[in-house]
Protein backbone atom coordinates (compact mmCIF):
# COMPACT_ATOMS: atom_id res chain seq x y z
CA UNK A 1 0.00 0.00 0.00
CA UNK A 2 2.80 2.38 1.01
CA UNK A 3 4.74 1.42 -2.12
CA UNK A 4 1.75 2.16 -4.35
CA UNK A 5 1.30 5.48 -2.63
CA UNK A 6 4.98 6.37 -3.17
CA UNK A 7 4.80 5.42 -6.87
CA UNK A 8 1.68 7.56 -7.25
CA UNK A 9 3.39 10.47 -5.52
CA UNK A 10 6.42 10.10 -7.83
CA UNK A 11 4.17 10.14 -10.91
CA UNK A 12 2.40 13.23 -9.65
CA UNK A 13 5.47 15.10 -8.47
CA UNK A 14 8.16 14.37 -11.11
CA UNK A 15 6.30 15.79 -14.15
CA UNK A 16 5.61 18.98 -12.21
CA UNK A 17 9.38 19.55 -11.94
CA UNK A 18 9.94 19.41 -15.70
CA UNK A 19 8.45 21.89 -18.12
CA UNK A 20 8.46 20.94 -21.77
CA UNK A 21 7.98 23.72 -24.30
CA UNK A 22 7.66 23.10 -28.03
CA UNK A 23 8.03 26.59 -29.46
CA UNK A 24 5.28 27.53 -31.91
CA UNK A 25 4.31 30.84 -33.43
CA UNK A 26 3.63 32.84 -36.54
CA UNK A 27 6.15 32.94 -39.37
CA UNK A 28 5.89 36.28 -41.15
CA UNK A 29 7.54 36.89 -44.53
CA UNK A 30 9.93 39.84 -44.45
CA UNK A 31 9.07 42.81 -46.64
CA UNK A 32 12.60 43.64 -47.78
CA UNK A 33 14.60 44.18 -50.96
CA UNK A 34 15.89 40.82 -52.15
CA UNK A 35 19.65 40.37 -52.21
CA UNK A 36 20.36 39.69 -55.89
CA UNK A 37 22.03 36.32 -55.43
CA UNK A 38 21.22 32.62 -55.82
CA UNK A 39 22.08 31.04 -52.52
CA UNK A 40 22.32 27.54 -51.17
CA UNK A 41 21.45 27.22 -47.48
CA UNK A 42 22.77 24.44 -45.28
CA UNK A 43 20.80 23.72 -42.12
CA UNK A 44 22.80 21.41 -39.88
CA UNK A 45 21.10 18.74 -37.77
CA UNK A 46 21.93 20.80 -34.67
CA UNK A 47 20.14 23.78 -36.18
CA UNK A 48 17.14 21.76 -37.35
CA UNK A 49 16.65 20.05 -34.00
CA UNK A 50 17.86 22.69 -31.58
CA UNK A 51 16.82 21.99 -28.02
CA UNK A 52 17.74 23.75 -24.85
CA UNK A 53 17.65 22.27 -21.38
CA UNK A 54 18.26 24.07 -18.12
CA UNK A 55 17.67 23.11 -14.53
CA UNK A 56 16.68 26.11 -12.46
CA UNK A 57 16.57 26.05 -8.71
CA UNK A 58 12.97 26.45 -7.50
CA UNK A 59 11.68 26.39 -11.10
CA UNK A 60 12.57 22.84 -12.10
CA UNK A 61 13.99 21.61 -15.39
CA UNK A 62 13.01 23.32 -18.63
CA UNK A 63 13.17 21.50 -21.97
CA UNK A 64 12.71 23.96 -24.78
CA UNK A 65 12.42 22.61 -28.31
CA UNK A 66 12.76 25.48 -30.78
CA UNK A 67 14.20 23.59 -33.76
CA UNK A 68 11.02 23.28 -35.85
CA UNK A 69 9.86 26.88 -35.32
CA UNK A 70 13.35 28.20 -35.98
CA UNK A 71 13.77 26.14 -39.17
CA UNK A 72 10.36 27.19 -40.47
CA UNK A 73 11.18 30.82 -39.69
CA UNK A 74 14.57 30.66 -41.44
CA UNK A 75 13.14 28.96 -44.54
CA UNK A 76 10.69 31.83 -44.85
CA UNK A 77 13.32 34.43 -44.05
CA UNK A 78 15.89 33.24 -46.60
CA UNK A 79 13.25 32.84 -49.33
CA UNK A 80 12.36 36.50 -48.89
CA UNK A 81 15.98 37.59 -48.55
CA UNK A 82 17.60 36.21 -51.73
CA UNK A 83 16.60 35.99 -55.39
CA UNK A 84 16.54 32.21 -55.16
CA UNK A 85 17.25 29.75 -52.40
CA UNK A 86 17.84 26.02 -52.35
CA UNK A 87 18.69 23.79 -49.42
CA UNK A 88 21.99 22.01 -49.86
CA UNK A 89 23.99 19.29 -48.15
CA UNK A 90 26.90 20.07 -45.86
CA UNK A 91 29.60 22.09 -47.69
CA UNK A 92 32.05 21.92 -49.39
CA UNK A 93 29.97 21.41 -52.53
CA UNK A 94 31.38 20.31 -55.87
CA UNK A 95 31.78 22.75 -58.77
CA UNK A 96 28.85 21.00 -60.45
CA UNK A 97 26.66 21.46 -57.35
CA UNK A 98 27.64 25.14 -57.21
CA UNK A 99 26.87 25.71 -60.91
CA UNK A 100 23.55 27.48 -60.30
CA UNK A 101 24.55 29.08 -57.00
CA UNK A 102 26.39 32.31 -56.20
CA UNK A 103 27.12 31.39 -52.61
CA UNK A 104 26.33 29.33 -49.54
CA UNK A 105 24.78 30.53 -46.31
CA UNK A 106 25.03 28.58 -43.06
CA UNK A 107 23.07 29.72 -40.00
CA UNK A 108 24.05 28.54 -36.53
CA UNK A 109 22.46 28.99 -33.14
CA UNK A 110 25.36 29.97 -30.90
CA UNK A 111 23.46 30.59 -27.68
CA UNK A 112 19.97 30.52 -26.30
CA UNK A 113 18.84 31.56 -22.85
CA UNK A 114 15.80 32.61 -20.93
CA UNK A 115 14.88 34.28 -17.66
CA UNK A 116 11.81 33.79 -15.53
CA UNK A 117 10.43 36.54 -13.28
CA UNK A 118 11.70 34.63 -10.24
CA UNK A 119 15.27 34.89 -11.57
CA UNK A 120 15.22 38.40 -13.06
CA UNK A 121 12.97 40.03 -10.48
CA UNK A 122 11.07 41.67 -13.35
CA UNK A 123 7.47 41.19 -14.40
CA UNK A 124 8.47 39.47 -17.62
CA UNK A 125 9.71 36.20 -19.00
CA UNK A 126 12.50 36.94 -21.44
CA UNK A 127 14.49 34.98 -23.99
CA UNK A 128 17.54 35.67 -26.12
CA UNK A 129 18.98 33.82 -29.07
CA UNK A 130 22.35 34.42 -30.69
CA UNK A 131 22.69 33.45 -34.33
CA UNK A 132 25.87 33.24 -36.38
CA UNK A 133 25.41 33.65 -40.10
CA UNK A 134 28.29 32.52 -42.32
CA UNK A 135 28.38 33.28 -46.03
CA UNK A 136 30.68 31.62 -48.58
CA UNK A 137 31.17 32.61 -52.19
CA UNK A 138 30.95 30.37 -55.24
CA UNK A 139 34.48 29.03 -54.76
CA UNK A 140 33.95 28.24 -51.09
CA UNK A 141 35.86 31.23 -49.75
CA UNK A 142 34.33 32.79 -46.68
CA UNK A 143 32.71 36.17 -47.39
CA UNK A 144 32.10 36.90 -43.75
CA UNK A 145 30.33 35.84 -40.59
CA UNK A 146 28.06 37.86 -38.38
CA UNK A 147 26.69 37.33 -34.91
CA UNK A 148 23.17 38.61 -34.34
CA UNK A 149 21.32 38.52 -31.04
CA UNK A 150 17.53 38.51 -30.87
CA UNK A 151 15.60 39.39 -27.73
CA UNK A 152 12.02 38.73 -26.74
CA UNK A 153 9.93 39.16 -23.64
CA UNK A 154 6.47 38.25 -22.59
CA UNK A 155 4.23 39.29 -19.75
CA UNK A 156 4.02 36.56 -17.19
CA UNK A 157 0.62 37.53 -15.88
CA UNK A 158 -1.47 36.52 -18.86
CA UNK A 159 0.25 33.22 -19.55
CA UNK A 160 1.43 30.18 -17.71
CA UNK A 161 5.22 29.91 -17.53
CA UNK A 162 5.56 27.63 -20.56
CA UNK A 163 3.29 29.83 -22.69
CA UNK A 164 5.24 32.93 -21.69
CA UNK A 165 8.58 31.28 -22.55
CA UNK A 166 7.11 30.19 -25.89
CA UNK A 167 5.97 33.76 -26.60
CA UNK A 168 9.32 35.27 -25.54
CA UNK A 169 11.25 32.76 -27.67
CA UNK A 170 9.10 33.43 -30.75
CA UNK A 171 9.70 37.16 -30.27
CA UNK A 172 13.45 36.58 -29.88
CA UNK A 173 13.54 34.61 -33.15
CA UNK A 174 11.52 37.41 -34.85
CA UNK A 175 13.86 40.05 -33.48
CA UNK A 176 16.97 38.21 -34.65
CA UNK A 177 15.35 37.61 -38.04
CA UNK A 178 14.45 41.28 -38.36
CA UNK A 179 18.07 42.28 -37.81
CA UNK A 180 19.27 39.73 -40.39
CA UNK A 181 16.64 40.85 -42.92
CA UNK A 182 17.50 44.52 -42.59
CA UNK A 183 21.23 44.50 -41.92
CA UNK A 184 22.74 41.66 -43.96
CA UNK A 185 22.45 43.47 -47.30
CA UNK A 186 24.27 46.53 -45.91
CA UNK A 187 27.35 44.61 -44.77
CA UNK A 188 30.42 45.84 -46.75
CA UNK A 189 31.57 42.24 -47.36
CA UNK A 190 28.17 41.33 -48.80
CA UNK A 191 28.16 44.42 -51.00
CA UNK A 192 31.67 43.56 -52.26
CA UNK A 193 30.57 39.97 -52.99
CA UNK A 194 27.51 41.20 -54.93
CA UNK A 195 29.67 43.57 -56.95
CA UNK A 196 32.07 40.73 -57.79
CA UNK A 197 29.19 38.43 -58.75
CA UNK A 198 27.77 41.18 -60.97
CA UNK A 199 31.17 41.52 -62.65
CA UNK A 200 31.72 45.04 -61.34
CA UNK A 201 35.17 46.24 -60.29
CA UNK A 202 36.10 45.98 -56.64
CA UNK A 203 35.81 49.21 -54.68
CA UNK A 204 38.82 49.78 -52.47
CA UNK A 205 38.54 51.19 -48.97
CA UNK A 206 40.20 54.42 -50.15
CA UNK A 207 37.71 54.86 -52.98
CA UNK A 208 34.84 54.22 -50.56
Amino acid sequence: MVRKFLVLMMILVVPACTTNVVVEGTVPSPLVVKIPARVGVYYSEDFRNFRYQEAIRDAGTWNIDLGAQNLSFFRNLTSALFTSVQEVREPPLTTEEMRDLDGIMIPYIEKYGFLTPSISGLKFYSASIEYRIVLYNKTGKKIGDWNIVGYGKSEGGMFTGDEAINEATVLAIRDGGARIAIELIDQPAVQAWLRREAGQPEVTAEAE
Binding site: P30, L31, E155, M158, R174, D175, A178, A181
Partner: protein, 216 residues
Protein backbone atom coordinates in the same frame (compact mmCIF):
# COMPACT_ATOMS: atom_id res chain seq x y z
CA UNK B 1 -33.35 44.70 -0.50
CA UNK B 2 -30.63 42.22 -1.45
CA UNK B 3 -30.12 44.14 -4.70
CA UNK B 4 -29.60 47.33 -2.74
CA UNK B 5 -27.04 45.63 -0.52
CA UNK B 6 -25.23 44.25 -3.60
CA UNK B 7 -25.19 47.71 -5.17
CA UNK B 8 -23.86 49.35 -2.00
CA UNK B 9 -21.24 46.59 -1.71
CA UNK B 10 -20.18 47.00 -5.33
CA UNK B 11 -19.65 50.72 -4.84
CA UNK B 12 -17.99 50.26 -1.48
CA UNK B 13 -15.48 47.71 -2.84
CA UNK B 14 -14.33 49.94 -5.66
CA UNK B 15 -11.51 52.19 -4.58
CA UNK B 16 -10.94 55.69 -5.90
CA UNK B 17 -8.55 56.51 -8.70
CA UNK B 18 -7.90 60.07 -9.73
CA UNK B 19 -6.87 60.70 -13.31
CA UNK B 20 -5.63 63.57 -15.45
CA UNK B 21 -5.73 63.72 -19.24
CA UNK B 22 -3.69 66.18 -21.28
CA UNK B 23 -3.56 66.71 -25.00
CA UNK B 24 -1.23 68.42 -27.44
CA UNK B 25 -2.49 68.85 -30.98
CA UNK B 26 -0.03 69.50 -33.80
CA UNK B 27 -2.32 69.08 -36.82
CA UNK B 28 -6.00 68.74 -37.64
CA UNK B 29 -7.44 65.23 -37.86
CA UNK B 30 -10.50 63.38 -39.12
CA UNK B 31 -11.22 59.82 -40.19
CA UNK B 32 -13.45 58.45 -42.94
CA UNK B 33 -15.60 55.41 -42.31
CA UNK B 34 -13.44 53.13 -44.46
CA UNK B 35 -10.19 54.33 -42.95
CA UNK B 36 -8.54 52.44 -40.10
CA UNK B 37 -6.25 53.03 -37.17
CA UNK B 38 -3.68 50.78 -35.55
CA UNK B 39 -2.64 50.84 -31.90
CA UNK B 40 0.89 49.68 -31.15
CA UNK B 41 2.29 49.16 -27.67
CA UNK B 42 5.87 50.39 -27.29
CA UNK B 43 8.20 47.61 -26.26
CA UNK B 44 11.78 48.05 -25.24
CA UNK B 45 14.35 45.69 -23.83
CA UNK B 46 14.67 47.20 -20.40
CA UNK B 47 12.47 46.46 -17.41
CA UNK B 48 9.51 48.40 -18.81
CA UNK B 49 7.01 47.64 -21.53
CA UNK B 50 3.47 48.78 -22.28
CA UNK B 51 1.19 46.01 -21.03
CA UNK B 52 -0.67 44.15 -23.77
CA UNK B 53 -3.80 44.35 -21.61
CA UNK B 54 -3.64 48.16 -21.72
CA UNK B 55 -3.62 48.42 -25.53
CA UNK B 56 -6.37 45.78 -25.65
CA UNK B 57 -8.41 47.86 -23.19
CA UNK B 58 -8.08 50.95 -25.43
CA UNK B 59 -8.92 48.90 -28.53
CA UNK B 60 -12.05 47.55 -26.83
CA UNK B 61 -13.12 51.06 -25.84
CA UNK B 62 -12.58 52.41 -29.38
CA UNK B 63 -14.56 49.53 -30.87
CA UNK B 64 -17.56 50.35 -28.69
CA UNK B 65 -20.18 53.07 -29.12
CA UNK B 66 -22.22 54.39 -31.99
CA UNK B 67 -19.27 55.30 -34.20
CA UNK B 68 -16.58 52.71 -33.59
CA UNK B 69 -13.18 53.35 -35.15
CA UNK B 70 -11.99 50.54 -37.42
CA UNK B 71 -8.88 49.06 -35.87
CA UNK B 72 -6.30 46.79 -37.47
CA UNK B 73 -5.11 44.21 -34.91
CA UNK B 74 -1.57 44.89 -33.71
CA UNK B 75 -0.27 41.39 -34.50
CA UNK B 76 -1.69 41.45 -38.02
CA UNK B 77 -0.16 44.86 -38.71
CA UNK B 78 3.26 43.80 -37.39
CA UNK B 79 3.19 40.53 -39.39
CA UNK B 80 2.14 42.32 -42.59
CA UNK B 81 4.94 44.85 -42.21
CA UNK B 82 7.60 42.56 -40.74
CA UNK B 83 10.45 43.44 -40.04
CA UNK B 84 9.71 47.20 -39.86
CA UNK B 85 7.63 47.44 -36.67
CA UNK B 86 9.58 45.12 -34.36
CA UNK B 87 10.72 46.58 -31.01
CA UNK B 88 14.24 47.42 -32.24
CA UNK B 89 13.38 48.36 -35.82
CA UNK B 90 10.20 50.41 -35.46
CA UNK B 91 10.40 54.14 -36.19
CA UNK B 92 10.85 56.15 -33.02
CA UNK B 93 9.55 59.42 -34.44
CA UNK B 94 7.25 60.49 -37.27
CA UNK B 95 10.28 61.99 -39.01
CA UNK B 96 11.44 58.44 -39.77
CA UNK B 97 8.22 57.57 -41.62
CA UNK B 98 9.49 58.98 -44.92
CA UNK B 99 12.52 56.66 -44.84
CA UNK B 100 10.32 53.72 -43.87
CA UNK B 101 7.78 54.38 -46.61
CA UNK B 102 10.61 54.42 -49.16
CA UNK B 103 11.16 50.71 -48.45
CA UNK B 104 9.61 48.66 -51.24
CA UNK B 105 6.14 47.38 -50.45
CA UNK B 106 5.65 49.24 -47.16
CA UNK B 107 3.42 52.03 -48.47
CA UNK B 108 1.47 49.54 -50.60
CA UNK B 109 0.71 47.32 -47.58
CA UNK B 110 -0.45 50.32 -45.54
CA UNK B 111 -2.57 51.61 -48.41
CA UNK B 112 -4.12 48.16 -48.94
CA UNK B 113 -5.24 48.08 -45.30
CA UNK B 114 -6.28 51.75 -45.57
CA UNK B 115 -4.55 52.61 -42.31
CA UNK B 116 -4.81 56.37 -41.76
CA UNK B 117 -3.53 56.72 -38.20
CA UNK B 118 -0.99 54.93 -36.07
CA UNK B 119 -1.08 55.49 -32.32
CA UNK B 120 1.92 54.43 -30.24
CA UNK B 121 0.92 53.64 -26.67
CA UNK B 122 3.78 54.04 -24.24
CA UNK B 123 3.79 53.72 -20.47
CA UNK B 124 3.06 51.37 -17.63
CA UNK B 125 1.49 50.96 -14.22
CA UNK B 126 3.83 50.76 -11.25
CA UNK B 127 3.36 50.30 -7.52
CA UNK B 128 4.78 53.42 -5.85
CA UNK B 129 3.96 52.64 -2.24
CA UNK B 130 2.71 49.76 -0.15
CA UNK B 131 2.28 48.98 3.50
CA UNK B 132 0.12 47.55 6.26
CA UNK B 133 -0.01 43.96 7.29
CA UNK B 134 -2.45 41.16 7.17
CA UNK B 135 -2.21 37.63 8.46
CA UNK B 136 -4.36 34.65 7.74
CA UNK B 137 -4.63 31.56 9.92
CA UNK B 138 -6.37 28.29 9.55
CA UNK B 139 -6.99 25.65 12.20
CA UNK B 140 -9.30 22.75 12.95
CA UNK B 141 -11.72 25.23 14.55
CA UNK B 142 -11.84 27.45 11.45
CA UNK B 143 -9.75 30.29 10.20
CA UNK B 144 -9.69 33.89 9.09
CA UNK B 145 -7.69 36.90 8.02
CA UNK B 146 -7.07 39.98 10.11
CA UNK B 147 -5.37 43.27 9.35
CA UNK B 148 -5.17 45.73 6.48
CA UNK B 149 -2.66 46.05 3.66
CA UNK B 150 -2.58 48.69 0.96
CA UNK B 151 -0.69 49.54 -2.19
CA UNK B 152 -0.66 52.71 -4.25
CA UNK B 153 -0.34 52.44 -8.01
CA UNK B 154 0.54 55.05 -10.60
CA UNK B 155 -0.57 54.52 -14.18
CA UNK B 156 1.15 56.81 -16.65
CA UNK B 157 0.58 56.41 -20.39
CA UNK B 158 1.01 58.46 -23.53
CA UNK B 159 -0.44 58.05 -27.01
CA UNK B 160 1.55 59.54 -29.89
CA UNK B 161 -0.62 59.79 -32.98
CA UNK B 162 0.92 59.74 -36.46
CA UNK B 163 -0.93 60.45 -39.69
CA UNK B 164 0.22 57.86 -42.24
CA UNK B 165 -1.23 59.92 -45.11
CA UNK B 166 0.80 63.05 -44.41
CA UNK B 167 3.63 61.17 -42.61
CA UNK B 168 3.52 63.62 -39.73
CA UNK B 169 2.84 63.60 -36.02
CA UNK B 170 -0.62 64.97 -35.27
CA UNK B 171 -0.33 65.14 -31.49
CA UNK B 172 0.04 63.42 -28.15
CA UNK B 173 -2.40 62.54 -25.40
CA UNK B 174 -1.20 61.64 -21.93
CA UNK B 175 -3.14 59.99 -19.15
CA UNK B 176 -2.01 59.77 -15.54
CA UNK B 177 -4.00 58.03 -12.85
CA UNK B 178 -3.18 57.13 -9.28
CA UNK B 179 -5.12 55.12 -6.78
CA UNK B 180 -4.71 53.22 -3.56
CA UNK B 181 -6.08 49.71 -3.22
CA UNK B 182 -6.75 47.98 0.10
CA UNK B 183 -7.04 44.42 1.25
CA UNK B 184 -8.94 44.33 4.51
CA UNK B 185 -8.99 41.13 6.54
CA UNK B 186 -12.26 40.86 8.46
CA UNK B 187 -12.29 37.09 8.79
CA UNK B 188 -12.67 37.02 5.01
CA UNK B 189 -10.14 39.02 2.95
CA UNK B 190 -12.04 41.90 1.30
CA UNK B 191 -10.29 43.61 -1.62
CA UNK B 192 -11.04 47.27 -2.34
CA UNK B 193 -9.39 47.87 -5.69
CA UNK B 194 -8.68 51.30 -7.17
CA UNK B 195 -7.62 50.14 -10.70
CA UNK B 196 -5.79 53.28 -11.90
CA UNK B 197 -4.73 51.43 -15.07
CA UNK B 198 -8.39 51.01 -15.98
CA UNK B 199 -9.08 54.70 -15.27
CA UNK B 200 -6.13 55.73 -17.47
CA UNK B 201 -7.36 53.41 -20.23
CA UNK B 202 -10.90 54.79 -20.23
CA UNK B 203 -9.70 58.39 -20.09
CA UNK B 204 -7.11 57.91 -22.84
CA UNK B 205 -9.54 56.01 -25.10
CA UNK B 206 -12.26 58.67 -24.79
CA UNK B 207 -9.80 61.45 -25.57
CA UNK B 208 -8.18 59.48 -28.40
CA UNK B 209 -11.54 58.91 -30.08
CA UNK B 210 -12.40 62.63 -29.85
CA UNK B 211 -8.93 63.53 -31.13
CA UNK B 212 -9.08 61.21 -34.15
CA UNK B 213 -12.56 62.24 -35.27
CA UNK B 214 -11.51 65.86 -34.83
CA UNK B 215 -13.88 66.81 -32.03
CA UNK B 216 -11.24 68.12 -29.67
Amino acid sequence: MSRLISLILAFALTGCASSRIEQVREASTGIKQDEAMVLLGRASYNEKQTEESFTECIADALNEGENPIRLIPEEQFKDDLYPWFEPRTAPTSADELGRLFAQPGVQQRINDANVRYLAWIDGDTVTIDSGGSMSCTISTFGGGCFGVSYWEEDASYQASIWDLQTLTSTGQISADATGTSYLAGLVLPIPILARPGNAACKGLATQLRAFIVGES
